[in-house]
Amino acid sequence: MNDSFIQINGISKHFGNVKAVDDVSFQIKEGEFFSLLGPSGCGKTTLLRLLAGFEYPTSGNLLLDGSDITALPPDKRPTNMVFQNYAIFPHINVEKNVQFGLRKLGLTNDEITKRVKDVLSLVKLEGYEERYSSQLSGGQRQRVALARALVRQPKVLLLDEPLGALDKKLRDEMQLELRTLQKEIGITFVFVTHDQQEAISMSDRVAVMSEGKIQQMSSPNELYKNPQNIFVSDFIGETNFLKAKTNSKDGEYINVNIEDLGSFKIKNNLNISENASDVICSVRPETMMIDREKSDWDICLEGKIKQTSYLGEMTKFYVETKEIEKIITVSSQYFDNQSFQDGKCFISINLNDISLLNKK
């Protein structure tokens, strides 16, 4: 597999004074499910449109499979896109929509018929050939958009928040299906989304973007467990932030003075320097334990439950402690909102579960 199948070299895109994409460089592997994740306005869609050819970069260049595509118009690129609103042509039926992109490929009629039939069976839309866009549900439109793009056998499929318009149940189904489909056909997917859960559940790698720059690019596991900065830690999942100061280093570890809690030795994954006054400790709600009794964990605090939210598979507790000024969020699959009558509880933290981050 080609590790630098798509090369994005120093790409910037400015709209007037706005730097939508700001000097971004990275590579996407062949056959990879790659996600661009970020809040709206972070530049992820602009980056996708640059790959599709709907925008041209202010500076930098794009290479796809070894050839420079920076200046190619969209119709000359071996990429195809699934649009956010699907953009199904309303004046022609499903079959004609799927055939639309085959006209210029120089195929025989038999080949066209076969390809359309195969791709419609791939996306499970057999029997819908004669339907028009208005006669389809959201999920079916999404499949037509997918079929219409895949039938051209592109080197890269670009997906612009394709699941955004679907209801939750259907979205979960389509996530699994898209993932399976991508593994089956082996085409490189570049997937844009603002939904962190969607990105980390589907992707081989995720690039988290903010303000036109890549904040972190790694596997979903890494992203969740070892966020590189506060933005990523905050954007991916939910977390508690505690202010801290660093003291002396000790190999892989560093002594940290966590505000209100005292001094602890924790892992220094980001190699943060000694005597940094502006660091943050991040603790995920599900890594903490909530219980009725005291535990022997590294840190154990007595607290009072101020609020709960019951989510079925787990319950979130918002806990006030004497030591920490902020309300701490803890989640548990074992206890629920009925478990603590008087609101009195103990929350426990393992030092291994604290990630130390630079405050930027």
Binding site: P73, P74, D75, N85, F100, G101, R103, Y132, S134
Partner: protein, 271 residues
């Protein structure tokens, strides 16, 4: 509440009466067996229509009007289509000014437009005739065509055009396979209304036709002789029916595929 509804109903009826009763007299008297427009009606006849159709000058004027109308509507709709696309699709510097510039002929008194064209045309040493009339009509019809087409193109999902580019079509292929079929009801509505505006237009024609009369010019010339009144009435009646039909057709087309059924219509101009 009942009272209020009745008042509104009476107002509406009066409004339509004022609007259409004078027009209805034309068809009524065109079938009346008399040379004068007066009651009581003296009997039913189609003689005025036969008489009208027998005039060879009428055929000439009708043909002139059709030629002018077809050219004027095609050219003004084409110009308006490009302009409407630009206004609806892009935001550019000077957008409001250029929009205003295209709309101004719509607001300038027609007689001023006519005199201006007449003066320039003659000072350039050209002869009067159907050519300057057609040019004047193009100028006059373009704002109408633009209003119709902008209404159609505004709110158009331009990602459809991007999808077409993405699927391998170049700009012309995209226009032909995606934009044109979707704009088509608007384009046809614009063609029909521009044609009708040109077909009924009098002031520009009056100044610029020279000896080649258009249909309104022909009618005006006939009106000067009282004995020719009945067959002008017959001609007027025919024009009213024709115009009404075209305008209704244009409005129906303009609204076709908009709103609820937007995505459902399909005009297949290619297979």
């Amino acid at each position: 509440m009942e009272q209020k509804n009745n008042t509104l109903l009476i107002y509406t009826l009066l409004y339509f009466a004022f609007l259409y009763i004078p027009v209805l007299f034309l068809p009524i008297f065109s079938f009346n067996d008399a040379n004068y427009m007066s009651f009581p009606l003296s009997g039913f006849t189609t003689e005025h229509y036969e008489e009208m159709w027998a005039k060879t000058n009428l055929h000439k004027a009708l043909w002139a009007s059709i030629k002018v109308g077809v050219v004027a509507s095609v050219v003004s709709t084409t110009i308006a289509l490009f302009a409407a696309k630009a206004f609806a699709r892009y935001k550019f510097r000077g957008q409001n000014i250029s929009y205003g510039a295209i709309m101004i002929p719509f607001l300038i008194p027609e007689i001023i437009l006519a005199v201006a064209i007449l003066v320039i045309w003659l000072s350039l040493g050209f002869k009067l005739g159907l050519v300057p009339v057609t040019l004047g009509h193009i100028l006059f019809c373009t704002p109408f065509a633009m209003l119709i087409l902008i209404a159609r193109i505004e709110g158009f999902d331009f990602s459809l055009e991007e999808a077409s580019r993405d699927l391998g079509e170049n700009a012309w292929g995209t226009f032909y396979r995606v934009s044109l079929p979707l704009y088509l009801p608007g384009i046809i509505a614009s063609l029909l209304l521009s044609f009708i505006i040109s077909f009924d237009e009098f002031v520009l024609a009056f100044f610029l036709t020279g000896s080649d009369a258009t249909l309104p010019m022909y009618m005006w010339a006939q009106m000067r002789f009282i004995q020719k009144l009945p067959h002008v009435l017959a001609l007027g009646a025919v024009i009213i029916v024709f115009t009404t039909f075209i305008v209704l057709l244009a409005f129906w087309l303009r609204n076709l595929g908009q709103g609820k059924e937007k995505a459902e219509f399909g005009i297949k101009i290619h297979e």
